[in-house]
Symmetry: C2
């Protein structure tokens, strides 16, 4: 009878995880990696961050860059390059605001169309992500996530 190994399990056994499975940050990171991969594999042309920006512009036409940056949790300088790209792809338009330091942001017709085409793909992606959960488990997870680090 083989004695119990003190070091690494054999090549096909899973690794011992130590305390990692009990850490929220670790579980969150693994889940997010898997979700991002599924997103990238199933949604062409737009990253998760870009979808967030387009959705917020659609829901808040004329929003300024600084407010949008705060809403998505990135620095305003980081948003500049992202908007350059979205404007170069003719998905978003910047218009000088009445406070002439600001730019208001609007979706172009092409941007709105791309977003509309993408939403069903996101819905299917979301179904795959939550495939193992019941509807009530899924809402419970959403609610719990919203209460982290108050």
């Amino acid at each position: 009878m083989p004695r119990k190994s003190v070091s690494a399990p054999a090549g096909d056994a899973p690794l011992r995880q130590g305390l990692l499975p009990g850490l929220l940050g670790y579980r969150l990171r693994l889940a997010q990696q898997a979700i991002f991969r599924d997103f990238a594999d199933s949604i062409p042309d737009l990253s998760p961050g870009r979808v967030g920006v387009l959705v917020l512009i659609e829901s808040n036409p004329g929003v300024t860059q600084s407010r949008l940056a705060r809403a998505v949790g990135i620095d305003r300088s980081t948003l500049v390059g992202l908007l350059h790209e979205l404007e170069a792809r003719n998905l978003v338009q910047r218009r000088r605001g009445t406070d002439r330091r600001t730019n208001g942001l609007w979706l172009t017709a092409k941007g709105a169309a791309l977003l509309a085409r993408t939403l069903p793909l996101i819905a299917r992606h979301e179904e795959r992500v939550a495939a193992g959960l019941s509807a009530s488990e899924r809402s419970r997870l959403l609610a719990l996530l919203g209460r982290l680090l108050g």
Copy 2:
């Protein structure tokens, strides 16, 4: 009485979030950003990814690089640079395996000591992250996260 605006809310109102709050990936990303910031602010010298690597080596002494890379969900080429750094800091040691293509990985005394010193900081970080949740809500969240994307 002010009529309801059709475009962006005023400068201090929160943005309308559209469908974003209902997307698991979006909520996960926001939660993880906040958690990473708290981690970086409260745990010196080690990033979340490095802690994961050190914990897995501690729990699986002699593990090979390829198996460790699979366990933490990164490419084995990505792990090489991380291990170069940890070895240069004298936290980890590589030893040629009996299968001479492989390196077995061990914590050095210094690596084990750093990890031991860091664990209480991680525990306090974890308490802050879950401060808004009861113990049973926290375990429920961990369990639900483990069931995403099969």
